[in-house]
Amino acid sequence: MKRTIPLVLVFTLGVIYFFAGFFSNSFSVNFLQQEIYANWLKIVGTFAIIMSVTSLWRRNYIKIKRKAPGYVYNYIELIGMVVMASFAVLLPKVNIGAGMVLGGIEKNSVFNWIFMNIQVPMQATMFSMLAFYIASAAYRAFRARNIEATLLLITAAIVMIGRVPLGENIYQAMSGVNSHFLPEFHWAGIFDFQGITQWILDIPNTASKRAIVFGVAMGGIATSLKIVFGIEKSWLGGTE
């Protein structure tokens, strides 16, 4: 029973979604898409929120109770959740001076102030660290060890120059020299970093990416069909 019900559910929903997604007749659009699929998703989504909040609360509470290593962060997570939810939903929208309101999610609310002045700078700081790691990793990893690595290295350098205004300036300067020296032969073209970058993105990148996307899509369809028809059961957990 534990395995049959999920298999029946997956088969039924898989078939409904197949007809809702791949057919555009009025039954598919108005009934399957709007009435069944869209409404069910809302209901499932609402329960998922309840479940996730409960699960988040339980996970943190257990860690705090056991005084697991770093349990102080679990306190912070719970306090953050309660504080933000309180400002957004529970507290009244009263004026607290300096053009700010206590409750609500408006631009001048405390909720928005916390988001813009605490979460935004913290997340932005974390991500900005990437510039340093990329610089260091590029310096250590980009070595001309073989032909493939050399090609990658040269391509990376061209794209890096072609994506900034410097690439345009080099080409312009070289075109000026070209017009005075051997004007009958457009050798400055090899310095058109922006053009070469565009070509790399438009042709080799597009071709390889399309091949990958196509392969992934075919694999996705095959796996989905195997799941819908109950051939692939590993998602149920345990062993057959």
Partner: protein, 355 residues
């Protein structure tokens, strides 16, 4: 250790220090980059938006979090400003990322405020800022000229939007302006008003159901805007002549993304409902979307900070994107320099080892 060996093992802290310097220096000294030839994909998107007619509606979706804000905010602001200048109507929402709800509001609101203040109110503002009563109010409350201009814009906009909460917060200034008939001098039609010229939904959970629903009936699916007002009360959704009902009435959807949201929107907006889709993405994921530009599924795309700089150049409104171009140039040069140094050291020491 000989010099060439040292070149392969420069302490990473030097790399970090130099990187911090080349990024910060242009920003601190306000060195700006210039773009002579904007990227092809940015031009395509610009041309598409530029040819839209007055009162056409564009939908902006904000699927990113604060960590990508530095890259995606400049481009989303540039497109929003362009749309306001073109008198297009704007719908904003965050269909996938909850954090996009707050960021999207900041983008649209800031550009609407900027537009109302800079473009529409310029002459009107100069006139009333110098009026004796406003001057007295400004001096008593120690408000700078720039801030009073912002406050006046907020109050006039709130007056036309009948936004009681904002009026309440700025009661003193509102009373002074009302008593002296200062509202009547402004031209309501030129303002960008919430509900008429733009509408913001915030984060709406349940991506698939939201997308499917908007393909049929936006007011029924979304129900309330970001502030909890039923959107059917908005002129944009109940006007007899030019109301927005479903995706059919949206001229283009533009997704600002730091994740796979463009893929999902391609499925629903473009493939299912046949509406044009544009994208503004972080540079690291841009390479993934070139096949969709070539196939025409994406109208155009802004690629990272350079994409923002391209768009700012195209609309002739320099902003953060162009500002960051100098930093990006120096940072790229530094990385290339380190790669060259590392390779010189590697090749020379390798030859030495072979001997």
């Amino acid at each position: 250790m000989n010099f060439f060996k040292w070149l392969t093992k420069i302490d990473r802290r030097w790399v970090y220090l130099l990187m911090a310097f080349v990024v910060a220096f242009p920003i601190l000294t306000n060195i700006k980059g210039t773009i002579k030839k904007p990227s092809k994909s940015a031009v395509k998107l610009f041309k598409y938006i530029d040819k839209l007619e007055k009162d056409n509606t564009i939908m902006l979706t904000f699927d990113y979090s604060p960590d990508s804000l530095a890259e995606l905010n400049p481009m989303s602001k540039a497109i929003t400003y362009h749309a306001l200048e073109k008198n297009l109507r704007i719908i904003g929402l965050a269909p996938l990322w909850p954090t996009g709800g707050g960021l999207g509001l900041d983008v649209i609101q800031s550009q609407v405020d900027r537009f109302n203040q800079e473009v529409v109110l310029k002459s009107y503002l100069d006139e009333i800022v110098d009026s004796p009563l406003i001057k007295k109010y400004r001096e008593t409350n120690k408000i700078s000229v720039e801030n009073i201009k912002t406050n006046i814009t907020t109050v006039v906009t709130a007056y036309y939007e009948s936004d009681k909460k904002t009026i309440e917060v700025n009661k003193k200034l509102f009373d002074i302006m009302e008593k002296n008939n200062l509202f009547t001098k402004a031209d309501k039609d030129k303002f960008k008003l919430n509900g008429r010229d733009w509408s913001y939904f915030g984060y709406k959970p349940g991506f698939s159901s939201i997308m499917l629903g908007m393909g049929k009936d936006i007011p029924k699916t979304i129900v309330n805007d970001y502030w909890g007002t039923p959107i059917i009360k908005h002129e944009m959704f109940n006007s007899k002549t030019k109301k927005v009902k479903s995706f059919e009435d949206i001229s283009i959807v533009i997704d600002f993304a730091a994740g796979a949201s463009v893929d999902y929107l391609l499925l629903y907006v473009n493939t299912k409902f046949g509406r044009p889709l544009g994208a503004g993405v972080t540079a690291v994921m841009a390479a993934d979307y070139y096949p969709y530009i070539q196939s025409g599924q994406l109208v155009g795309m802004l690629n990272g900070m350079r994409g923002a700089a391209d768009y700012e150049t195209l609309i002739k409104q320099p902003g953060r994107g162009l500002n960051a171009m100098a930093s990006q140039t120096y940072a790229h040069l530094l990385i290339i320099l380190f790669i060259i140094l590392g390779n010189i050291g590697y090749l020379v020491t390798k030859k030495g080892d072979e001997k």
